[in-house]
């Protein structure tokens, strides 16, 4: 089965893998592993063995309290990483980054596996940085305006 091939590959690359069935059917499974301190999951369906979905979740930084700010940042990062789809979840305290990957077969997917993981990681960390940057920019602007109004500038 496709899930077994992918699980063997990830283990062969040195990572512990947990496999969990998704829903009531045997067709859909999720393979969960960790790399570089981050947990990733690969969703595979034996009914659609050429389509793979790779996901990872990040916490929305605590200084980002505004949902609009978070979703704006995610939309901006999607321009740089058009293959990644971002979804806010758990009352907007986390966001999930997902890449849907269509491959000729499972071997083609595995050939590019770590590159896809790397792109997904870059997109997620890029999104977190973008959110924080926006907070800092706003704080810097507030500071400037306060100084301006006091006549310091």
């Amino acid at each position: 089965m496709v899930r077994d091939r992918i699980a063997r590959f990830i283990e062969g690359e040195g990572h512990r893998v947990e496999t969990a069935a998704v829903g009531d059917t045997e067709e859909l499974a999720e393979l969960v592993f960790r790399t570089r301190g981050q947990t990733f999951s690969v969703a595979v369906s034996d009914a659609d063995p050429q389509r793979f979905s790779l996901s990872t979740a990040y916490e929305v930084p605590t200084e980002v309290r505004d949902r609009t700010q978070a979703s704006d940042a995610l939309r901006d990062v999607e321009v740089d990483f058009p293959e990644t789809r971002f979804t806010l979840a758990h009352d907007d305290t986390i966001f999930i980054a997902t890449v849907e990957y269509d491959a000729l077969d499972v071997e083609a997917f595995l050939e590019n596996f770590w590159e896809i993981v790397g792109r997904l990681r870059d997109s997620g960390t890029g999104a977190v940085e973008r959110m924080v940057d926006r907070s800092e920019s706003k704080a810097a602007a507030d500071k400037f305006i306060r100084q301006f109004m006091k006549g310091d500038r």
Binding site: E11, E13, G14, H15, R16, R34, T35, R36, G37, W114
Partner: protein, 136 residues
């Protein structure tokens, strides 16, 4: 677990990272090998020196790279990089990236293990990227 096996906390650190490992001890040395994203790493300790722990990875130099330019690139990284020592093994034509630590207990390494792996990985990437730029 052997009483003198002071690398046991490193096994826990590797497990924290979600990685698999194997042990390869002998009378003098304690050794752990593991992979991360397909790249191979090792941890070495000596039974007669429980305060010393070395974490590392090794890579073959590309055939078209001269030892002299590899040494220059390694030296530049040694000046700049935190934690990681880059060494060129002339005869084997290998580049070795190591972090050598002096600890009271390997437990001290556990919370920082991910950072040290990142440092090893990033240094190797920079080393080979610098060599490619020199060849471009």
């Amino acid at each position: 677990m052997n009483e003198a096996d002071h690398l046991v906390p490193i096994e826990a650190a590797i497990e924290d990272e979600g990685l698999l490992f194997t042990r390869d001890n002998d009378e003098e040395a304690l050794r752990i090998t593991f992979k991360s994203e397909g790249d191979r790493y090792f941890v070495v300790g000596y039974r007669d020196d429980p305060n010393f722990v070395m974490i590392g990875s090794g890579w073959a130099l590309p055939a078209d790279v001269e030892l002299q330019e590899a040494s220059v690139a390694a030296n530049a990284l040694n000046v700049r990089k935190k934690f990681v020592k880059t060494a060129i093994w002339d005869e084997e034509r290998d580049a070795l990236f190591t972090v050598e630590l002096c600890v009271s207990s390997a437990d001290e390494i556990r919370p920082h293990f991910g950072r040290l792996l990142d440092a090893l990985r990033d240094t190797a990437i920079e080393f080979f990227s610098d060599l490619r730029e020199d060849h471009a």
